[in-house]
Amino acid sequence: MSDPIVGTFHDALTGETITRELTAEEIAALPEPSDPLTPEQ
């Protein structure tokens, strides 16, 4: 089982910043990792 993913959540209206674990739905919605910039071959 993989470690839980923690996120920083900041609300600009209240100025409040919290930290919590992501839900399963939030984890499923994460974008696919991008490729690194590759040196010219």
Partner: protein
């Protein structure tokens, strides 16, 4: 007493209705006033334009050689009130974060925004930071054109209907960089983005758009590996008339 203006404001002795001409000295009173008026004239400068001929908001401008003119300021009050960036919010990424979401930062108050990120650490050496708006997970079109410090030809990577803007910023072991402009995220029209990309091996230019007309009030940054700690993210709005 001689006038001490403009070093300080003078404090004259006013004669009473029954004061004799020698106490306070009538001549000295005239000398004081003459002295003060000459210093005021020197301060204001010469020039024939009267305040009565100046429009509302005009200012007295020095023309050099001791002359002044009432005229419209180079930057009008309306321009001054609507120029530049206005701070909206700032936050520090909490330890070991796999994502960072900033909500309620886009609104009808501004059309366009700038997101700045600096500092902090990355858990495993470095990562690209993907930007998503609201819950949108498709329709992102972007490209990055970059040039390696070691030389060679300019290169590029495109994202065609992707799930994010994948090169919005970077995080390294002990520094990070994001300088991204976001246009019309809250308006019900296409959102466009753009900014410089700076990393340890290359710099480039990154730009793109989100192909829908939805309104967004939040964004999320997701590293393509590892976690973030301590980055400072600040959002500004471009002031508008």
């Amino acid at each position: 007493m001689a006038s001490n203006y403009p070093t300080s404001i003078d404090s004259f002795t006013d004669p009473l209705s029954n004061s004799p001409l020698n106490n306070p000295s009538h001549a000295a009173q005239h000398q004081d006033v003459n002295d003060a008026v000459e210093k005021l004239e020197t301060k204001l400068g010469v020039g024939s334009s009267p305040a009565s001929g100046a429009a509302s908001g005009h200012v007295l401008v020095a023309n050099g050689s001791g002359s002044t003119t009432w005229q419209a300021p180079a930057v009008t009050a309306a321009q001054f009130a609507n120029v530049g960036l206005t701070f909206i919010t700032s936050t520090t990424v909490q330890s070991g974060s796999g994502i960072v979401t900033v909500s309620n930062c886009f609104s009808s108050t501004y059309d366009n925004y700038k997101i700045i990120m600096t500092g902090g650490t990355h858990s495993s050496g470095g990562a690209n930071l993907a930007l998503t708006l609201g819950s949108a997970n498709s329709g992102y079109y972007s490209s990055i054109v970059y040039y390696l410090y070691t030389g060679g030809s300019a290169q590029g990577i495109g994202t065609n209907n992707g799930a994010s803007f994948p090169y919005a910023g970077i995080a390294r072991t002990n520094w990070s960089h994001m300088n991204l402009d976001i246009f019309n995220p809250f308006a019900s029209q296409r959102t466009t983005i753009g900014g410089p990309f700076i990393n340890v091996d290359a710099t480039g230019n990154y730009a793109g758009f989100l192909d829908n007309a939805n309104s967004y009030s939040s964004f999320t940054l997701t590293p393509n590996n590892g976690t973030l700690t301590g980055q400072i993210i600040t959002v500004y709005g471009y002031r508008k008339a």
